[in-house]
Amino acid sequence: MSTRVLVFSADELRGKIIRKVLDRNGLECMFFNRILETGDDIVQHSPDVVIVDTESCYPEEINHLRNICQTLKHEVVIVLGRETVIDRFKGPRMRKVLCLFDPLDPELIAVKIKETVSQKEKKGKLTGGDMLEKTLKHLLHLN
């Protein structure tokens, strides 16, 4: 199954460019420019990766995106924008958020997604291993 990416950008051009490049890189990508409905879209489409573009966002929208990012636990989150804005997406609850500063580099985004997803898959596989270990421990009365 291909990696599903949701792109949120108030800047339609940037969003479409990202979508096109990711499509070309074999990533299943959807673009949304309704920033304040981000949460609903994530719930509806359950993506592997969420790209949050802060460019052209109003302060309220940036706050909204920041709050959303703090709630995402299973998705890979990539935040795009200017350094000064992206700084707001750092903090203890944002450890898994990957920040990429402008200028927009769609190819780099694709590379990062592939890297991160691959790491996540490896981790997932280890989790599969953990499950097996848990099963064996249980059956061997080792717990």
Partner: protein, 393 residues
């Protein structure tokens, strides 16, 4: 531009029309000043035999181009492109008009001779290349609906003239809502934003004609037409009559667009002013004789070289400044091409001159090569057609 046949027709008309005189500019202004708002325009399509002189192919109705339309509405020409069987069929006409008084016998003659015209309450509006022929007869200049890429502020009837010319080039859509993509200029570099008005009114009349109109930046149309092998990534520059339009496209997205309001007309006017010749004559020399690959041989060609240099330098400098100042351009890992289109890019050596001057500029993006469009006069219309076809699905 009028062809020899048009000229002969006009000469013949002149001898038979007798009292048919042009409506001079002053008179037109006086009339237009009070009557433009209430002029009763009859669309060309309502006339008995309105369309005879377009540079369009012949053929029966079964051969008529169909489907989506690409339309280049330029300051000097209007070009329409449509698919006809397996090729792109382009027709064009001058974006110009010439007025004569509204008199019964004049109408009969114009109709009999199949001159493209339409009428309002007081005048007949001879449009397209026929207007040029008539202007030449009277040793006058044609009037232009557009100036420097936009609807002319001076010509209150400009839009209706454009509508009439477009109507003469493109038949009404077979199906209501057919997609028509029309070119619009980019925001002038450091200039005013009159694009919204220009785009809206043109869109309005196209909608009224039964189309679904979609605007496309003229530079972007050049990209779509010429840079398919480059993933539609590169810079398209359309050097027209009223302006030069520039678009930096990334994977078919126009990330930077702008225009400079200096182009063919500016060269003609400035050279004419410098050497004391009419702009129309300079235009003819420019289009027929100019060779920018060699040094100038006389005063006119010297001046043409100088003003070409000025425009190219202005283009490159503004391109450099726009790219530096914008944060919209994504990182592009490979050098990108520049493609030149439009009539002003056509003189021999123009591309080489552009390339040579580019080397003197420290461009913030790496350029792989400079190319001239395959068919510079039809490039914008073809690009618009590609867009229309894409939109039409």
């Amino acid at each position: 531009m009028a062809d020899a046949k048009d000229y002969d027709n006009a000469q013949e008309e002149l001898s038979t029309l007798g009292g048919l005189h042009p409506t001079d500019k002053t008179a037109a202004s006086a009339a237009g000043g009070t009557e433009a708002g209430r002029q009763v325009k009859k669309p060309v399509a309502t006339l008995k035999n309105p369309i005879v002189n377009a540079e369009r192919g012949t053929g029966d109705d079964g051969d008529r181009p169909t489907g989506p339309v690409g339309l280049d509405i330029g300051t000097s020409h209007i070009v329409a492109a449509q698919n006809k069987r397996n090729y792109v069929h382009s027709v064009q006409d001058l974006n110009a008009f010439f007025t004569v008084p509204n008199e019964k016998f004049a109408k009969d003659i114009l109709s009999q001779k199949k001159i493209k015209f339409y009428e309002n309450a007081h005048e007949y509006y001879i449009i397209g290349s026929s207007a040029q022929s008539f202007a030449n007869m009277f040793n006058m200049n044609t009037r232009r609906p557009m100036k420097d890429g936009f609807l002319s502020q001076k010509e209150h009837v400009g839009l209706s003239v454009i509508e009439a010319i477009v109507g003469s080039l493109v038949q009404k859509p077979k199906n209501f809502g057919e997609v028509l993509c029309f070119s619009v200029p980019g925001e002038p570099f450091g200039g005013s934003g009159s694009i919204v008005y220009h785009e809206s009114v043109i869109k309005g009349f196209l909608e009224g004609s039964g189309y679904t109109p979609i605007p496309i930046n003229e530079g972007m149309a050049t990209v779509l037409s010429e840079l398919s092998d480059d993933d539609y990534t590169g810079i398209g520059i359309s050097m027209g009559g009223g302006m030069c339009n520039v678009c930096l496209s990334y994977l078919s997205f126009p990330v930077v667009t702008f225009s400079i309001q200096m182009a063919g007309d500016y060269i003609d006017a400035m050279v004419g002013k410098t050497v004391g010749e009419p702009a129309a004559r300079i235009k003819a020399i420019k289009e027929e004789e100019l060779d920018l690959s060699h040094g100038p041989k006389d005063r006119v060609s010297t001046a043409l070289h100088i003003f070409y240099d000025e425009i190219i330098l202005k283009l490159l400098d503004s391109l450099r400044r726009v790219i530096i100042s914008t944060d919209k351009i994504p990182k592009i890992s490979t050098p990108i091409p520049i493609v030149l289109s439009g009539g002003t890019a056509m003189p021999t050596g123009c591309k080489d001159k552009f390339e040579a001057m580019l080397k003197t500029i420290d461009m913030p993006v790496e350029i792989s090569e400079v190319r001239l469009a395959e068919d510079p006069l039809n490039t914008t219309a073809k690009g618009a057609l590609i867009m229309a076809m894409t939109e039409a699905g």
